[in-house]
Symmetry: D2
Subunit: 296 residues, 4 copies
Amino acid sequence: MSAISLKGIFPPIPTPFINGEVAHEQLTENIQKWCKTGISGIVVFGSNGEYPYLSVEEKLKTIDTAVKAVDGSLPIIVGSGCESTKGSIELTNQCAALGASAALMVTPFYYKGGMTSDAMNHHFTNVAGQSKIPVILYNVTKFTGINLSAKLVGELSSHQNIIGIKDSSGNVSQLGEYLNAADKNFEVMVGTAGALFGALALGCSGGVLAAANVAPEICVEIYKLVQTADFKTAQKLQRRILSLNTALTATYGVPGLKAALDMLGYFGGEPRLPLLPLAEKECREIKQILIDADLL
Amino acid sequence: MSAISLKGIFPPIPTPFINGEVAHEQLTENIQKWCKTGISGIVVFGSNGEYPYLSVEEKLKTIDTAVKAVDGSLPIIVGSGCESTKGSIELTNQCAALGASAALMVTPFYYKGGMTSDAMNHHFTNVAGQSKIPVILYNVTKFTGINLSAKLVGELSSHQNIIGIKDSSGNVSQLGEYLNAADKNFEVMVGTAGALFGALALGCSGGVLAAANVAPEICVEIYKLVQTADFKTAQKLQRRILSLNTALTATYGVPGLKAALDMLGYFGGEPRLPLLPLAEKECREIKQILIDADLL
Amino acid sequence: MSAISLKGIFPPIPTPFINGEVAHEQLTENIQKWCKTGISGIVVFGSNGEYPYLSVEEKLKTIDTAVKAVDGSLPIIVGSGCESTKGSIELTNQCAALGASAALMVTPFYYKGGMTSDAMNHHFTNVAGQSKIPVILYNVTKFTGINLSAKLVGELSSHQNIIGIKDSSGNVSQLGEYLNAADKNFEVMVGTAGALFGALALGCSGGVLAAANVAPEICVEIYKLVQTADFKTAQKLQRRILSLNTALTATYGVPGLKAALDMLGYFGGEPRLPLLPLAEKECREIKQILIDADLL
Amino acid sequence: MSAISLKGIFPPIPTPFINGEVAHEQLTENIQKWCKTGISGIVVFGSNGEYPYLSVEEKLKTIDTAVKAVDGSLPIIVGSGCESTKGSIELTNQCAALGASAALMVTPFYYKGGMTSDAMNHHFTNVAGQSKIPVILYNVTKFTGINLSAKLVGELSSHQNIIGIKDSSGNVSQLGEYLNAADKNFEVMVGTAGALFGALALGCSGGVLAAANVAPEICVEIYKLVQTADFKTAQKLQRRILSLNTALTATYGVPGLKAALDMLGYFGGEPRLPLLPLAEKECREIKQILIDADLL
């Protein structure tokens, strides 16, 4: 198993579409741009990747493109979690065969009542046991309605093929409890840019951040400033990206992220239906937010 | 387009597994038993069908089995809703080609913030416009976190290929508002047995009920009693199945439903992982509930 | 202890204010009008009574006015539940001394985590044991975030001074489970007009309904139609008041109720701050809803 | 208007009871102990003060005791927010007359639907305009179900008598957005110890923390370490108090806090009913947590 470090900043990239089909060329160009920003790796099929909207075939072809685009320079982490244990294992190993370095494994969530700690433990242990690449737990309560407890994360952290967690709750207290509960080599990544500085100061290893698509250099800079203990500048940068982060996540989501990318020289494009593209008025708000954050 | 009536009782059947694979023979036998209970049709891949756990190929093969099992005697309604508009249309028409009579179309829900009335309207109109079989809206807030407003349902009800809604909220007030807002030929089905009598008394056309798997005759009887205005007996039967319904839905979900079927001479079997089968103690509770409801 | 029947319709009346002070004369006139509509009693300080906005002194003076206004013709039920057990007992017995016939006892709810079944059982048993008038449990999840289980209601129903429950969940399945779990003489009242017909058909004894302030005759008529088993007409009336009920509860709340009363010849007036009166546009919507329901 | 600084650590103290009555002597002794720990002031009737369980008379007498106990050495902040605007103003000014230095003003929340931004703006502006002491907004979503937006906080921050906010959401991103939106002199206090370090690093002025009752010295130390930019030690202390904080808030609440105080030489005692004291097993867990945090 090849080692992968979870230190630093990882953008969970959107999947570009043209006329409703994955735009592989544009994806390649985007990835090549991000590769020059100081990031530590790329996450394909995080929630910003519209993964629930792609077929298995589309997912595999997209991973193939991404792996070729980084060309060994950076690791590709793939969001290959499915609702079923069986499906999660199959998709993960197909992606591993294509060159993905690690799997981001979302908590199953449709049958909320059935997703007990016991069921979760069973699921993640099974997946990790059969996955050919390391597994990163993915806790994203706002989409799933499920929250992984520090106790369970502590237990799972002792599995040799479960190397970390991405937590998008924005709750630094929970991030700290994960750190306290987990084994030494297990790494905790913050999943929302609004808590980046606070999370890093607490000991998290890095971030998987929607905002890192749009402002990768600022996110990388915050990471470095915490390493060098320049907290005053880190505070300033953190507060500069707050509104940006809220717009890209809580307010406008994936369509907002794509609109911002279009303004910044990346290819954003339209989301897949049923997600609608932003209205013109909303695009103007995004533009203003980018201007306010000195990105435009 | 063949007409399908939404009057009466429709069990949303579970998908049986043996060693983690769909058990087609057992499915056929189960369906043949249900066909003799007075029900009006069968729903494959409602939430009780563990549909998020099956691949597209498995879904199609299962629909094929179900269509052959009813052998024209009853309609098969298929839960073919996916997160994406494109995926929903494709799967629906594949199922139509196999002989499904109508499509139960769950609200997309992963990107909750993006699922505005506008996006929903667009999605259902697109799907219905391209679907070769009639579409039934599916509102199941407890799993999706999304609720269809009476206003939107009223608008969608005028589409000639959207013939009804299944609402599992258990909120009779909302069922009544759907009825008030909708076009004449649009039918409203209650999606939880606990509200069956109240919903039928209010004018709903029928029910798609987890409890109808286990107690189809009682559900059909309640339906008939409301038709013949024997409300006193209906009340008695309704109150008899309440605890049963709670156990099969809120408390134990699909694993509970499967355990109950095993006790009643159907094939239930184990759910697919990550859902865990019931513990022995829980099975004993299910048994007691079946005894209390005079089903065992 | 004087017996009080919970059969029939009980409006939970609003508290009228003029210049921010309780308007006792207008309250008396309102009550005298309601007394002529066929209702079975009046609830003062249900949620529509803005009870959290009144001081203890104001509450006592208001109860005194209400008791005098009915002049023995109808019972006054008082919402005298407080967050603390001690406060609930004191206020209840002060109201009893002024002539209130029963106490509507809301679940305490500020410390949600502490309001276990055990704590609730203790609380209601203590209050009922020391109250000089019968106690009616009050379950109003949308305001409190707390829900009383059927199991707990079943246990409390055996207390001789706990005579019933008002449940505003709108969940007929839960109403039925309360009926199944409770002692024979314990009565279950539905707390939202949208579920009135369904609840009565299931065996509930009556309703405490915001809509009964505005349309008492229709609510009373639905009650009578269920008694005489005329379900067809009941269905029609029930569906006629649905939008009205939604407007008075979910959409506009107490300010909407007061605006509607002003249009119907009662004294509504303004709510107490921080509740704001309706804007003009909202008043026009209320008016249209009253017209649509043939009340104007 | 006397100036009050919101810099540093403020314990929101519990109200001690003996036989269900406020224990003034024990309260005085507790306060005198806390005064020696380096804290910046004391909050009486925060959520940990069981304020919803006290009558107005009890509240006033308790404030009087607290003001006398600090004897001018530290400011007393009083939680004098009520559901009504009128009640909030009256209670605040009564407390001001007794010597309270500022008022912590919880968002009204019973009528959630009515608590629009407009209503909130009106409420807080009215209260602040008539209050004789400075007002601090209090956002405590877990108890109220209401969240103050950064936009509204920004608007209210320009009122000369609204000097800050206590936010208990634990969401550092929101704390940062408050800081970004607010006027220069407006101070943002974090309301949960789990986010203390992250909040201070971001620019918050201090904390009002349940954990500061039990571990005031550690909280004060974290505050000082951030002032002197010793982030490494701050991180260590922050992670040391995380489990303690979770136990005192999410898991055991006020009864847990009181049990811990009893173990640490303060007077904790029993909560008021309906809150139940901890069971023995739970006390043992609290004890272990205190031992793990090196407090016992």
